[in-house]
């Protein structure tokens, strides 16, 4: 973080706070989506940027959060404000069970096992029609009337995302966060100085799953419905692309990436809806080859060495 970061944050918060006064509802919805994706990508980056663990299956925890929220409201009859804090716990529980196995592996195998578990989650959601509605998803998952307007849900999302980001920042700045970085840089040396590498990685995995679940639950109420696509593998690449786009070596990278990603998606799919994946794929290829540090890496210059997925 640079010295001017607090000032930038203060300006950003002020701009976001007055946005509903000047922007039409459509842009508020876009900003709401940006905030949710930003949280998802930041949670993902706790693993990728700080833990050096790249998950190819984070859609699983997003979907678990979204489906848990939808089911709690629809089947258990819980009010939304109660379902929202409970749903991420379901995602965290999933992350604990899967993560227990996943953190035993490294690099490519880590990525592949996380993908395998996400595909299992997807298939279960897809096939278990009785509970999840299968292909049709679950509809009518709306927040209470008070939060239903775009501006109200926008403020609500900002508040929840803001709190989560503060928590994530605190986690990354804590001794735990530094031990996690140590485990990333050299697992062996970290072990020598007494860090239980696997336990730290598992905790990071669970926390990352928890906050991905918050993003999923927020998105469920924003969208008013949940679908099996939430767990499908292209969704898993969303936080990865966003984090990569923004830069994985900075706390704010994924947030900047979410802004760029969503604005680009809106601009392109408004004009040529079927070309969006082409652009997305092209952007991924370009960023990897030309901009290894992401856009934040470009701005902050040499401060963060442009190292691949440290």
């Amino acid at each position: 973080m640079t010295a001017s970061a607090p000032r930038v944050i203060a300006i950003a918060v002020a701009v976001l706070a007055i946005a509903p006064l000047v922007l039409p509802p459509f842009f508020l919805q876009l900003l709401t989506e940006i905030a949710i994706v930003g949280l998802f990508a930041t949670a993902f980056n706790l693993l990728m940027g700080y833990g050096g663990m790249v998950s190819f299956g984070h859609a699983a925890y997003f979907a678990l959060g979204a489906y848990a929220a939808a089911l709690l409201v629809k089947k258990a009859g819980l009010p939304m404000l109660l379902a929202l804090p409970v749903a991420p716990l379901v995602a965290a529980a999933g992350a604990l069970v899967f993560g227990f196995f996943i953190v035993r592996l490294t690099h490519t195998y880590f990525a592949m096992l996380s993908l395998a578990f996400a595909q299992i989650v997807f298939t279960v959601i897809f096939k278990w029609k009785g509970l999840t509605g299968g292909d049709d998803g679950l509809l009518d998952v709306w927040p209470p009337p008070l939060l239903k307007s775009p501006a109200a849900y926008y403020y609500f999302t900002l508040a929840v995302v803001g709190l989560c980001l503060l928590a994530l920042h605190a986690i990354i700045d804590s001794p735990f966060g530094y031990a996690l970085r140590a485990a990333r840089e050299s697992p062996r040396r970290a072990r020598f100085i007494g860090v239980d590498v696997r336990r730290h990685q598992l905790l990071a995995f669970v926390l990352s799953g928890l906050f991905s679940g918050v993003a999923g639950a927020l998105f469920a109420f924003y969208n008013g419905s949940v679908f099996p696509d939430f767990a499908y593998f292209p969704k898993s690449f969303e936080p990865l692309v966003v984090a990569l786009l923004g830069g994985v070596h900075s706390f704010y990278g994924p947030l900047a990436g979410a802004l760029g990603f969503k604005v680009l998606e809106w601009l392109i799919s408004r004009q040529w809806p079927i070309y969006w994946p082409l652009f997305l794929g092209g952007i991924v290829v370009l960023v990897i080859i030309v901009l290894p540090g992401g856009f934040v890496g470009l701005v902050s210059g040499g401060r963060w060495r442009a190292r691949p997925a440290a």
Binding site: A111, M112, K127, L278, G281, V284, I289, P308
Partner: protein, 286 residues
Amino acid sequence: MQVLSGLSVGMFLFLVSVGMSLIFGVTRIVNLAHGSFYMVGAYLMVTLVELLPDRPWSFWVALLVAPLGVALLGGVIEVGLLRLIYRRDPLMQLILTFGLILVIGTLVLIVWGPDNKSVSRPDVLAGSVPVFGQPFPSYYVLVLALAPAVAVALWLIFYRTRWGMLIRAATVDREMLGALGVDVSALYTQVFVFGSWLAGLGGALAAPTVAVAIGMDGDVLTTAFVVVVIGGLGSFAGSFVSALLVGLLQSFGILVFPAISIVLLFALMAVVLIVRPWGLFGRAEE
């Protein structure tokens, strides 16, 4: 009967996954775009069969040319993109090939449109032959014959030619091979082109048996991926055994538990990854 159709599915899987495994063995890149190559092979087959005059030989010409088109595509991608990032983190390479899935998938959608296509089987193989008193489509007999032939040919290439020896050497120690004066960079390109050709052949061969459709890339990729992981990345025999295993598991799984046959597949993969992360036939790394 179920065994035979399971084996035929296994044969397509083998062609795709052995190429993927070969590419990984030499270049250390997990090519996620491999399913896309398979899809392009199938679509090229559609176009070629349409374009060529309706003669007995045109199907076979198409079957020959379509995989070559895919091989060319693979060559362009290797030289134009992958060559730039061999020294980078393997995960970046993985993400790059994911980007290629999106690019190729959209391009196929633009070129061939969203409707399903089909390729008719050549007249010679349009009927069926009796196997154990039940009719079995004769096209599958071709598949069952051709894929083992490819397997034998591959074995001969790997173990009886100099090029095969270089490939095996590269999977063991690339730096050492380079230090001994072998042009490793050219070898990478050749292997990538060859692997793409195999995927294209799988796609072209499968085209008459399936609906050629957008999205077949993802289906094949996930299954081939499971095959490669179970068999062991970079292992030739592993791909063969596990492709047959997965093919059988799929065709029986659909009979016994239709709802969860895919879960079964991924559960098997998860178990293998937990118990033997390097696969049944692979070598442990580091």
